[in-house]
Amino acid sequence: MSTKDKVIAIIAEQAVLEPSDVTMNSTLEDLGIDSLGLVESIFSIEEAFDISVPFNANDPKASDFDISTVASIVAGIERLQAEQS
């Protein structure tokens, strides 16, 4: 499974949607994922890709890891994989 498909599967599960309902341009907010869902999604991503994601729930936007869309999350994971491998 590609990084993109894995991320979509994680996000879809969190949003209780079908993967086909999640696109690269979807934002977590559009999908109805709240702050608890976001923290759980980050955890699932760390587990799935064996990476450590810099993320502080007090200020999600301050982190280098851009969570604004599915596409930005995929790009962030690829960057962290390269840095942390």
């Binding site: 993320f55 729930a57 007090n58 200020d59």
Partner: protein, 402 residues
């Protein structure tokens, strides 16, 4: 209804091993938060905390006691002794039969769980010490205080996460006010600064890696602390008749439940608890000079708490002082309200308002007088102490100068 006063106080926390040293540190704006010293700290992503240092339990308690006392019990017993010694009470006869112990803790014997899980899971041992259960149980500390000081009345432990101590003290207050008990030993303790205790908090992603800066625009989360605060709540006439030194009066309390979210705070729940405590105490909002804030240093708590204060106090919100001493001793979770009550007593008795240290940048969403960085002298008559827990359970105490 009886009046209730505080005639003894005791503590141990990152700022000091007793009340005088803790109040001196609060007055001087000392930061008790530092690099954690504990096993496997290198595997933690959060490596700071308000740890109690230099506490030699071995010297205080014998071997038999040590096998029964988790660190949260050790802290409680040290603080209870200081409080009861200061009160001058000796519990015997009728007084002993009616007086009890109500304490708060969120986790109880967390390091006993941690050590013994490690032993059976990591080290592969198939046997644990026979006293693991009586050592880790949440009521262990209250039980040992009752045994040590002959308190034979109503005793139990309250667990409502970060509001545990305030809920416990509210219970003890009710018991004395109703005439059920002439005196109650109350407060709370917590000791979660072990690998598992910190690792669990890390998971929530709300912890700061560098400092607890409540109300400051650049705040980035909470920092754990540990320790205990214990008080003697006594019926006013009982205290007066024996000429006891009265530290302050406990005038009222309120509890509320947000009934909304398991971790996100609610302005409405917080407002109802503060307004309720004032109503219960018969205190006009304009009389309140100081609020010891819950002030965790998270984005969510601080702005919600400030909005709730503005709601409850209206224009007076801009005149009162509100500070978070968590910036100095860290968040003692279930013990936090008890240690923070000391800041209220200092404000009422000594006229010194403890500061919010680490304050660097004003936040328009927290635009109150947060007593930034330096303690302040002020004569006040009424203080309130806030605790707003995960699970949406809130408890606020209202105190009056003696």
């Amino acid at each position: 209804m009886k009046r209730v006063v505080i005639t003894g106080a005791g503590t141990i926390n990152a700022l000091g091993h007793d009340v005088p040293s803790t109040l001196t540190a609060m007055r001087e704006g000392v930061c008790g938060i530092a690099a954690l010293e504990l096993r496997d700290v290198d595997r933690l992503s959060i490596q700071i905390g308000g740890q109690v240092r230099g506490f030699e339990a071995e010297g205080r308690y014998n071997r038999q006691q040590m096998s029964l006392y988790d660190r949260f019990t050790q802290f409680t017993l040290a603080a209870a002794k200081e409080a009861i010694d200061q009160s001058g009470l000796t519990f015997s006869g009728e007084l002993a039969a009616k007086s009890g112990v109500v304490l708060g803790t969120a986790g109880g014997g967390v390091s006993t769980w941690d050590d013994n899980y490690r032993s059976v899971y990591e080290d592969g041992k198939n046997r644990v010490h026979p006293f693991v259960v009586p050592k880790l149980m949440n009521n262990a500390a209250a039980s040992h205080v009752s045994m040590e000081h002959n308190l034979k009345g109503p005793s139990f432990t309250v667990s409502t996460a970060c509001a545990s101590s305030n809920h416990a003290m509210a219970q003890a207050f009710s018991m004395v006010r109703s005439g059920m008990a002439p005196a109650m030993v109350t407060g709370g303790s917590e000791s979660m600064l072990c690998f598992g205790g910190v690792k669990a908090w890390e998971g929530l992603r709300v912890m700061s890696r560098d400092a607890c800066r409540p109300f400051s625009a650049n705040r980035n989360g909470m920092v754990q602390g540990e320790g205990a605060g214990v008080f003697v709540f006594e019926e006013y006439e009982h205290a007066r008749a024996r000429g006891a030194d009265i530290l302050c009066e406990v005038a009222g309390f309120a509890m509320s439940s947000d009934a909304s979210d398991i971790v996100m705070p609610s302005k409405n729940g917080a407002s109802r608890a503060m307004a309720g405590a004032l109503a219960d105490a018969g205190i006009d909002r304009d009389e309140v000079g100081y609020i010891n804030a819950h002030g965790t240093g998270t984005a969510a708590n601080d702005k919600t708490e400030c909005a709730a204060v503005a709601d409850v106090f209206g224009p007076h919100a801009d005149k009162l002082m509100i500070s978070s001493t968590k910036s100095m001793h860290g968040h003692l979770i279930g013990g936090t309200g008890a240690v923070e009550l000391l800041a209220c007593i200092m404000a009422l008795r000594d006229g010194i308002i403890a500061p919010t240290i680490g304050y660097e940048e004003p936040d328009p969403e927290c635009a109150l007088d947060v007593v930034p960085n330096e303690a302040r002298e002020a004569k006040i008559k009424v203080a309130i102490s806030n605790a707003f827990a995960f699970g949406g359970m809130n408890a606020v105490l209202a105190l009056r100068a003696a």
